[in-house]
């Protein structure tokens, strides 16, 4: 790798159950302005812009082109979009900076789940021949995975409740989070998952700025250097996979260099409590690692932005000097189908 690239700024909305008084661009724009303000950059200074979103969430065709209005994309800027979580938009921007084509990149993503029924919307990403016609919703698929993990002896319901409680307690320090403090574990939504094991449904957005080399040092007192980043995917058949493990996460972590030295912090994109159990095992995280100090996706899960939030939160801890080496993880698809791992470091203090 010939160029050092860092996250130099991060901003997010308050994540809320609804935002029906705002269009997507109206929700997104303050976040874009906030992240630019942190660096003093203007749109015209940005070398590459990449976003992640899904039109299915709010049912609005080409919503990402309307969102571009908030960037100031006319006259045309160098820009791209992924129908993925913003973590994958960040991956594309990182590769763009690696090529030397740009020195700075704006990455953002947003999701408005409130206009639709997100459990049903997410069925449309499944195998259209064998799975989608059965409409298995996102909670049902996570529950199948949770039961497999329980059957394997890797966790039990009290342990899952403890993950939920720890996440929402940690989120009390995160003013952007949607679910904070004491949240009842509740009834079964799809057994064995209770409402407390599931993420809140909500709307929100996130943005980060990447910069290369000296530019990063100019823009940020303590840049969060991306030491490695990789993403891998499981076989698409749910019944082909071992749902109790995440070999794609482990492989991505290995390729990103996560196992070369211990990390002090991990921001894991685990929308369901049971998925944190799988990820901790796959990433070999022991109790010395601070997991999801932000509260994680169990505290705020704006779909398409929740993975980018993990990278942003990990980077922000490095910016603030609260972490020296952090792992950030993002996931997409049912039962941790696809996984991205980034390793971030701050300069020695």
């Amino acid at each position: 790798m010939t160029r050092e690239i860092a996250v130099v700024a991060f901003a997010q909305t308050d994540h809320r159950r609804t935002s029906d008084e705002l269009s997507e661009v109206e929700m997104l724009m303050p976040v874009l302005h906030a992240v630019l303000d942190q660096t003093g950059l203007k749109t015209a200074d940005i070398g590459f812009t990449c976003s992640g979103s899904s039109d299915y969430l709010a049912g609005r065709a080409f919503s990402f082109t309307l969102a571009l209005d908030g960037v100031g994309a006319w006259p045309p800027i160098s820009e791209s979009h992924v129908e993925m979580d913003g973590a994958w938009a960040l991956y594309e921007a990182w590769t763009k900076l690696l090529t030397g084509d740009a020195d700075t990149a704006l990455v953002y993503s947003y999701g408005k789940s409130s206009p639709g029924s997100v459990r049903d919307v997410l069925t449309r990403q499944l195998d259209p021949y064998y799975v989608a016609p059965l409409w298995p919703d996102s909670v049902a698929l996570a529950a199948l995975q949770a039961q497999a993990i329980i059957d394997a002896g890797d966790t039990d319901e009290p342990a899952l409740a403890a993950v939920a409680a720890r996440s929402r307690t940690d989120a009390t320090a995160n003013s952007h989070a949607q679910l904070r403090g004491s949240v009842p574990q509740g009834d079964y939504l799809v057994r064995p998952l209770r409402t407390g094991d599931c993420p809140p449904i909500g709307d929100g957005a996130a943005a980060v700025i990447l910069a290369a080399g000296e530019r990063a040092r100019d823009l940020c007192e303590r840049p969060a250097w991306i030491r490695g980043i990789d993403h891998r995917i499981e076989a698409h058949g749910l019944g082909v996979r071992d749902l109790t493990d995440s070999p794609s996460t482990r492989l991505a972590a290995e390729k990103a260099g996560a196992f070369e030295r211990p990390v002090d912090t991990a921001e894991l994109h685990a929308p369901f409590t049971s998925q944190e159990v799988v990820l901790r095992n796959a990433l070999r995280l022991d109790d010395s690692v601070r997991v999801n100090p932000s509260g994680g996706a169990l505290a705020a899960n704006p779909i398409m932005a929740a993975g980018l939030l993990r990278i942003g939160e990990a980077a922000a801890r490095i910016h603030r000097g609260e972490s020296d080496r952090a792992l950030a993880h993002a996931t997409s698809g049912p039962c941790l189908q696809q996984n991205l791992v980034a390793v971030l470091e701050g300069d020695p203090r």
Binding site: D20, E21, L22, S23, E24, V25, E26, M29, L32, H33, T43, Y56, A58, G59, R60, L66, D69, G70, V71, G72, A73, W74, P75, P115, G116, S117, D120, V121, T123, R124, P128, Y129, Y130, V131, A132, P133, L134, W135, P136, D137, A140, L141, A143, L144, Q145, A146, Q147, A148, D151, Y188, V190, R191, P192, A235, H236, G237, L238, G239, V240, L243
Partner: protein, 313 residues
């Protein structure tokens, strides 16, 4: 702030999908109450079968019949079935490894309650009465305490194999247009056209979307524009649109309303289609009860000079 506007929005598509040879054999098999798997390079039997080996990505075509009985590998109790799911009474989602298969199939299990379900329990396929060659030809699984059924060794060759499926999909939303467009729509109900001005470049956008695409900042200052405007460019529509009761040919035009820095588009009426021209002055025509102009018609004013609207084509 005016009240938040909301309207129901249904997105509905019948997706027509073609099948590969393995998928075709599997779904045709279900129609004939035969369950087929496919052998991978390393000798495992995948059910449901796929076209390519999940490990090596090789094309795989070696079909093998498996039993309609099997074992639950994991389950989840669904006490509130949702639209489109296999059963409308409480059921268990299950992954089932059919006898003879090495992988599991997702479906529903009809059971009296969660206490009647456990990993490792034996189940069998309950076939749908009407079968068309789709995954829903399996109505669900049901508990089964008999011997494993013996597959008959079907070759996977069928007369009149299905080659495609039609997958209906409907998602329901509650649409809200957001602050700027809500204000625009509220004003329209008073037959006024209200755009928004960019605080930076001073351009007025109609309809407003809340942001200036050049400056990337929020628009907020409301500016009433029109009602008259100028045709900046147009096309002649010769193909009748479905569900649209307008005789062809007709003219659809970009119209720069007086005071606006962005052209909106609308139909031109009240003039023969072949007499519409760039620079034509027009005004909106409202019909009773409508929330937006039905079309625009000539005002009779002299045409506008090209140089004054050339940026608004």
């Amino acid at each position: 702030m005016p009240e938040v506007l909301k309207a129901p929005l249904a997105v509905e598509f019948p997706f027509t999908r073609s099948l590969g040879p393995v998928q075709s054999a599997f779904l045709t098999g279900l129609r004939e109450r035969v369950v087929l798997g496919v052998k991978t390079i390393d000798g495992r039997t995948l059910v449901p079968p796929v076209e390519y080996d999940p490990v090596t990505a090789d094309e795989i075509r070696d079909l093998v019949e498996v039993a309609a009985t099997g074992t639950v590998t994991t389950w989840a109790w669904n006490h509130e079935p949702r639209r489109g799911q296999p059963l409308d009474t409480p059921f268990a989602w299950v992954l089932v490894r059919l006898d003879g298969a090495d992988t599991a199939l997702l479906h529903a299990l009809d059971a009296p309650g969660p206490d009647a379900v456990h990993t490792g329990m034996r189940v069998r396929v309950r076939w749908a009465e009407d079968r068309t060659g789709a995954i829903t030809d399996i109505a669900c699984f049901e508990p089964y305490d008999g011997e494993p059924e013996q597959p008959a060794g079907h070759s996977g060759e069928f007369a009149d194999a299905v080659t495609g499926i039609v997958a209906a999909a409907r998602l329901d939303y509650t649409y809200s247009p957001g602050r700027a467009q809500s204000a625009y729509i509220h004003a329209l109900s008073d037959r006024r056209m209200v755009g928004e001005r960019c605080p930076s470049c001073r351009k007025v956008y109609v309809p407003p979307r809340g942001a200036c695409p050049t400056c990337g900042v929020a628009t907020s200052e409301q500016v009433e524009v029109g009602p008259r405007g100028t045709v900046t460019t147009f096309c002649i529509v010769n193909i009748k649109a479905r569900n649209l009761d307008i005789e062809v040919p007709y003219v659809y035009a970009h119209i720069a309303l007086d005071g606006a820095d962005l052209a909106l588009h609308a139909r031109i009426g009240g003039i023969p289609y072949d007499q519409v021209r760039m620079g034509l002055r027009v005004e909106p025509v409202w019909t009773d009860g409508a929330r937006f102009p039905d079309h625009y018609r000539p005002t009779g004013e002299p045409d506008t000079e090209y140089d004054t609207y050339k940026e608004l084509l």
